[in-house]
Symmetry: D3
Subunit: 156 residues, 6 copies
């Protein structure tokens, strides 16, 4: 079985040393889903003066840049691209976030952090109507680049 590289031989959490890893382009996409009932979805304003889902998008983009400050074992690294999409779908709002870098380590956590914070921002703006809104299925959809190879999540 593979080793958990974030722990040393004594079980102590640690940062992985990526000094020797190749500086290649790496990209990751993550998703989150904010489940809310029809009543709340219908109350979400949508108009030319500023679609409120934009707030969630910007929050997600800014959060991706903060990832290493938030996740202890993450490496601070430059990011060459971040995008977050928030779409109203059946039963809630679907978030999808992508991050890219040219660095010695991947950006899965940057994509997941962007998706999570965008989802929390949607919750924040809707909680006056329904505190029971739930964020579901925060997960990695796919990653490319790096030695560990590409990954694509199984369908759900």
């Amino acid at each position: 079985m593979e080793k958990l590289s974030h722990f040393d031989e004594t079980g102590r959490a640690r940062m992985v040393d990526v000094s020797e890893k190749a500086q290649t382009r790496r990209e990751a996409t993550a998703a989150a889903f904010v489940a809310m009932d029809q009543r709340v979805l219908a109350a979400l304003p949508q108009n030319p003066k500023g679609n409120p889902l934009e707030t969630a998008r910007f929050a997600g983009i800014q959060a991706a840049k903060q990832t290493a400050m938030l996740i202890p074992m993450c490496h601070p690294l430059p990011l060459s691209f971040i995008d977050v999409a928030a779409t109203i779908t059946e039963g809630g709002i679907a978030i999808e976030a992508t991050a890219a870098t040219t660095a010695g380590t991947g950006v899965e956590m940057e994509a997941l952090t962007a998706a999570s914070i965008a989802a929390l921002t949607v919750y924040d703006m809707c909680k006056a109507l329904d505190k029971g809104i739930v964020i579901r299925e925060v997960r990695l959809l796919r990653k490319t680049g790096g030695k560990s190879g590409d990954y694509t999540a199984a369908d759900r």
Copy 2:
């Protein structure tokens, strides 16, 4: 139907003005669940040199303090207490986060942010074994204090 206080009359997202709200004690507890299969759970080291779930706890506590930097319409406020618990349970790791303040607005977002970042930290430390780990059911469990009254989530 109630109004979405985070949007103005034109549908533009905005921060709620809490200048006139009473400075009372407010507390909120949120949960998140990191679903992982038995193989990964069994690989998590647990020993006297440093239980790895501690990393997630600290990450959650520190993230709660960053909430207003992460969630655009949140007010920056002092916090009188933050705690995060991470427990290995059937099918994954259960996170529970509590925040408290004496201020003019609630701390639901602080509790939810702490729970989310703690869950992402668990993901980060386990992703070498399974990139398919999913964070589920990020939600508010209960809140007390403030004019909008107490809230307790329905059982699941």
Copy 3:
């Protein structure tokens, strides 16, 4: 003549001690103007999928919360309200930012920082078309609350 309270008797910059100041509601509004020619203004997209001036608004709101991190002699304080408006007008984009607190010191710098960063965000999004865009007239429009009394800028 009044004293410059941000300097001690030897001329050294210092933070003013506000421990004894009354905790009252204080509000400030600041403005900035991003001057750009008609060609660039016409190129700014405006549509239901997300008015780009929203980006500037959110950047300004988030920057207000960072004021004490940015301006050395500013006190970190809770904010009860922040709002930023960005409006296309003759010759450019007018920014207006308001901040409020209940604290022992004013929020002029929070309003000015929000206006400045919102203006810089507009520059960032338009600089591909015209690097010669200029930010003009970053200034305090009015403040209320606090011992030093209310202030309203003279018309221009």
Copy 4:
């Protein structure tokens, strides 16, 4: 006419993907002017114990490092040099800020952010004497490096 690269085909603000851009040395210099009347300028202490314009310089340098946290569509990147100068001139204080990097994108926003925050810091330290101080002409003076070529602002 050129495209506004910060907006997608639907007019949504977005970050430009710089993954494929060459990592070359890029430098930018920006200016700001803090207009104040002679009375305030004369009151500024200048002595061996600490020239107060130093406060503005340090604030500008530190702000340049925060640029990507403040301007949503900016990429987080390493900086190889930052300098800020603050000079008392006829009618006010002239700020000039320079930033440099070896990266796939330019540092105009870093230079402009440094200049803006340095100017706001001057305002903060002088506002006890005159709240009507205005920050004028925040603008890019020149940039070098990168595919879009060099730029030098026209004289004023």
Copy 5:
């Protein structure tokens, strides 16, 4: 023997709940000493264009505001005053930092963080001459306010 309030009954580190503590004025002063030999001290520039010890002072003031972000079990709180002094003395540079708040918990950590970062800033500016510079005796000098009473360090 007194209890270590930062640990729960199972020995787990935790934040102390200060919700019920009185909001009173609290102040703390801390010191640090940067030991360096006469050769380095003599090389430190001191002139009207900007005493370099100012850099250390500003770094310390800004660091005090970041204390809760840096020290996990510290509460984020407003600060009503911060000051840092850096003085050339026999054998090195003496740092003294003071912080004050009106809050439910003390500011010892804010004063200690300010003193530590100011000392590190001095090291940074002198390390080109002597990497063997040592920071000694980072300690609390005194605190006032709060239920635990006043404290004054014994002479050394």
Copy 6:
């Protein structure tokens, strides 16, 4: 005698321009010692539910990432590795912190900042028992890489 590269010809503190420096692997290790008497050391909980020294380790790792935000003349740079060890020894707790990067400048300040903040975190968790705890001997142990050559501190 060597020049103090952090000051210009007029004695003004400045950031060193590292644009032309080679991007090579650089590593630095720093130490700090938290002196405390036997009574406090004995009270430190050590158990499987979470060794409290872990709090100090995580605080140090996270602080290393904040170095450029804290130390004015430090360059923001990616880090490929950070580790902090905290060990109970005779008379106190010994901290050792290592940072590594592949960049145009060294990481001494990152290692020293990590060691200092880890030491302050230990102080914070023990100050309820003894406010007289002192942090001693914050110093660079060794560095490798870069043009200025390797460095190893003399024994003490």
